[in-house]
C-alpha cells in the first residue's frame, strides 16, 4: 500500500473506503502491530518506523488503537481495565485508579467501575474501551470502526460520546459510515486498494464528490461530462439540466450530482415540470433505510415501500427516472492529486 497522510495537532481525520481497501492495515502500521516492508512514519518528530532502520515497538509509540471489539481484559474490573494504561506508564496503583475514575466519569460509566467486562453490554463495553484508550493519554488515537459491532440502538449514543471526546484531539477514525465522518471528523480521506483516491474537508468531499466512489459514499447519483450553459453533457451525450455552480466554466469538465431520493420513477414516460427524464433498465433492487433503492446501472432512485409495491419493479423492466433540474447540482471536475491529504490550512 502507498499512503501519505499528515495530521495537524488536534485534528480528527476519517478514513473511508471499501472492504479490503487497507484501512485496518493503515492503522495497524501506525499503531505498530504490523511491520512495514518499506516506508516511514513519525509522530511529533519522533520516528515511528523507517523501514529497515528504525522500528519503535507498539508499546513505546503512545498511540492507542480502539477496534471494533472493545477487547476489555476479562480478568480485570472495569476500573482496572481503564487504569491499565496509566499503570503501564508507571503510575502507582492509586494514581492509576484515580486517573481511571476520571476517564470513566468522562464517558459516564463511573457506575460500572467494579463490574467485570462480562457483565457489560456491547455498548457499555465499548464506552469503557474508549475510556481505557483515553486514560493511556495517547499522542494519537486510532479508531477502527468503533461502532461497527454495536446494535443500531446504542451506536448513536456512542457517536455522541465520541463527538465529545474527539473534539480537540488528534485521531484517525476508520469507518464505513459517512455519517461518522460528517459528525466526528474535520477531514476525510477515501482509501481504495491501498491508495488515497480523494481527500479534503468532510463536507466538501460529500457535497461535491469528484470520484464515483466518493459520490457513492455520499449516496449521490453522479454523472461526469462537459459543462454547458445551463447544465452538462454527459460522456455518452445525454443532456442534464441543473443548477450550475459559478465556478463551472462551460466547455470544461464538470460533474453533476443529485440524490436518489430526488428521483421519481414512472412506468411510462411523463411530461411535466421536471426537466430531466432518463429511460432506465432496472438492474437491482435493494432495501435502503425505510425505502427501496431501484438501481439502473450507475443511477439509483429511492422510492417508498408502498410506491414500490404499486410499481412492482423487477430487474429487467424498463422505467423512467425523472428528476427536477433544481435537484441537480453541477460543478467543475478537479484533477485528484493523490498527495492532497495534508492538514487543513
Amino acid at each position: 500500500m502507498s499512503v501519505s497522510l499528515e495530521l495537524s495537532d488536534k485534528e480528527t481525520v476519517a478514513v473511508l473506503g471499501p472492504n479490503g481497501a487497507g484501512k485496518s492495515t493503515l492503522l495497524g502500521l501506525i499503531a505498530g502491530l504490523l511491520r512495514p516492508s518499506s516506508g516511514r512514519a513519525d509522530l511529533d518528530g519522533r520516528v515511528l518506523f523507517d523501514a529497515g532502520t528504525h522500528w519503535v515497538p507498539a508499546h513505546q509509540r503512545k498511540i492507542a488503537l480502539l477496534a471494533q471489539e472493545p477487547l476489555l481484559f476479562p480478568h480485570l474490573t472495569v476500573l482496572d481495565n481503564v487504569a491499565f494504561g496509566p499503570r503501564s506508564a508507571g503510575a502507582s496503583r492509586g494514581d492509576a485508579r484515580r486517573a481511571a475514575r476520571h476517564w470513566l466519569g468522562e464517558v459516564d460509566a463511573l457506575g460500572f467501575a467494579h463490574r467485570r467486562p462480562g457483565q457489560l453490554s456491547g455498548g457499555q463495553a465499548q464506552r469503557i474501551a474508549i475510556a481505557r484508550a483515553l486514560a493511556a493519554e495517547p499522542d494519537l488515537l486510532l479508531l477502527d470502526e468503533p461502532m461497527a459491532a454495536l446494535d443500531i440502538t446504542v451506536a448513536p449514543m456512542l457517536r455522541k460520546l465520541l463527538k465529545r471526546v474527539l473534539a480537540g484531539r488528534r485521531a484517525i477514525i476508520v469507518t464505513h459510515d459517512v455519517v461518522d465522518a460528517l459528525v466526528l471528523a474535520d477531514r476525510l480521506v477515501v482509501l481504495d486498494a491501498g491508495r488515497i483516491v480523494e481527500a479534503g474537508p468532510t463536507r466538501l468531499v460529500l457535497e461535491r464528490p469528484q470520484s464515483a466512489f466518493a459520490a457513492g459514499l455520499a449516496g449521490l447519483n453522479q454523472i461526469t461530462g462537459t459543462v454547458t450553459g445551463h447544465g452538462l453533457v454527459s460522456e455518452d451525450n445525454m443532456s442534464i439540466a441543473g443548477v450550475v455552480d459559478d465556478a463551472a466554466v462551460p466547455g470544461e469538465p464538470g460533474v453533476a450530482v443529485f440524490r436518489p431520493g430526488a428521483v421519481s420513477v414512472f412506468p411510462e414516460p411523463v411530461h411535466g415540470s421536471p426537466r430531466n427524464t432518463f429511460p432506465a433498465t432496472i438492474t437491482d433492487l435493494e432495501p435502503h433505510g425505510d425505502q427501496i433503492r431501484i438501481r439502473a446501472g450507475a443511477l439509483a432512485a429511492d422510492v417508498t415501500l408502498s410506491a414500490a409495491a404499486d410499481l412492482a419493479p423487477a430487474p429487467g423492466s424498463i422505467v423512467y427516472f425523472v428528476v427536477k433540474a433544481a435537484a441537480v447540482v453541477i460543478y467543475p471536475a478537479k484533477t485528484v492529486r493523490n498527495d492532497e491529504a495534508g492538514p487543513r490550512p
Binding site: M1, V3, S4, L5, L29, L34, S37, S38, G39, R40
Partner: protein, 276 residues
C-alpha cells in the same frame, strides 16, 4: 506516514522467556543427545538387526497397530458420548478415562491382571469360553489399548467440541438420520483430530512397558515388545539396549513429527491456529 508492504509484528516475547525456554528445550534435548553419544555406532546396524531385535520391533509395530485400531473402535464412541451426550456420571467418566494417563503402568498391569487374568473378574468367564488372554499377544494389545485410549478419546473429544454441533443440526434438517450424520458429517469433520489422536495412541502403544510386563509377560515373538526387549538386553547387552532405545526414539519423533508437520498438535491444542 507512508508505508508499503506489511508483516505482522509478532507479539514481543521478553528475552528472559527465550532463555528459560531454551533451558526447558535443552532439558528434554540433552538426555536424547546423551543417549546418542552412548550408541556403539560401528555395531549399530548389526545390533538393531539381530534376530530378537527385529522380532521385537515387528511385534511392537503389529501390536501397536492393532491396539490403535482398538482405541479407535472404543475411543470414538467414548469421545462422542463425552462430547455430545448428556448423562449423569459424565464427569466421572471423563476422570476415569483420564486415569490411565496418570496411573503408573505397573499398577495398570496389575489391575488388568485382576480383570482379564485366569483368576480375574472376567477371567473365569472367559476361560469357560475357551479364551485365554494372559501370556498371549492379545494381552499385549489390551495393555497397550488401556494406556493409549485416553490419548485418542481426549484428542477426539476436543475436536468434537470445537467442531460444534451446527453442521450436525444442518444435516439432520436435511433428513439425515443419526447414523448418516455420524458417518457423513461428524467423523469427516473431526478427521484431523482423530488422526492425531490415533498417532499419539500408536506412539504411546509403541512405548508401553510396565503394563505389558506385568500383565502379558515377556516371550520372544509373542509378548516381548521392543521396550521389553530393551529392558532385558540392558541386563547383558547395554549396547543393544541403547541402540534399540534410539530406534524407538527415532520412530516416535518421526511419527509425531510427520503427523504434526502441518498443524499444531490438535490433541492438546484448543481452538485451532487462528490467532488474530
Amino acid at each position: 506516514m507512508h508505508g508499503a508492504g506489511k508483516a505482522p509484528a509478532a507479539i514481543t516475547i521478553p528475552l528472559w522467556i527465550w532463555v528459560v525456554a531454551a533451558a526447558g528445550g535443552l532439558f528434554i534435548l540433552l538426555p536424547l543427545a546423551a543417549m546418542v553419544t552412548r550408541v556403539n555406532w560401528p555395531q549399530f546396524v548389526p545390533l538393531i538387526t539381530s534376530g530378537p531385535s527385529l522380532t521385537a520391533l515387528g511385534l511392537s509395530l503389529r501390536t501397536s497397530a492393532v491396539s490403535t485400531v482398538l482405541c479407535i473402535v472404543l475411543g470414538v464412541p467414548l469421545a462422542l458420548v463425552l462430547a455430545r451426550g448428556q448423562f449423569p456420571g459424565q464427569r466421572l467418566l471423563r476422570s476415569l478415562v483420564l486415569l490411565p494417563l496418570v496411573l503408573p503402568p505397573v499398577v495398570g498391569g496389575i489391575a488388568l491382571l485382576y480383570t482379564f487374568g485366569r483368576r480375574g473378574l472376567l477371567g473365569s468367564s472367559l476361560s469357560v469360553l475357551g479364551i485365554q488372554i494372559a501370556f498371549s499377544t492379545t494381552a499385549v494389545v489390551l495393555a497397550q489399548t488401556f494406556v493409549a485410549l485416553p490419548f485418542l478419546v481426549l484428542s477426539l473429544e476436543g475436536s468434537l467440541r470445537s467442531a460444534g454441533t451446527r453442521y450436525e443440526s444442518a444435516a439432520a434438517t436435511l433428513g439425515a438420520g443419526p447414523g448418516t450424520v455420524l458417518r457423513r458429517v461428524t467423523l469427516p469433520l473431526v478427521l484431523p483430530g482423530l488422526a492425531s489422536g490415533a498417532v499419539l495412541a500408536f506412539a504411546r502403544s509403541l512405548g508401553e512397558f510396565g503394563a505389558t510386563l506385568t500383565f502379558a509377560g515377556s516371550l520372544e515373538g509373542v509378548t516381548r515388545t521392543l521396550p521389553l526387549e530393551i529392558y532385558l538386553q540392558r541386563e547383558t547387552d547395554p549396547d543393544t539396549a541403547v541402540a534399540l532405545s534410539l530406534v524407538l526414539v527415532v520412530i516416535a519423533v518421526a511419527i509425531v513429527g510427520l503427523t504434526f508437520r502441518r498443524t499444531a498438535p490438535k490433541l492438546l491444542n484448543s481452538g485451532g491456529t487462528r490467532d488474530a
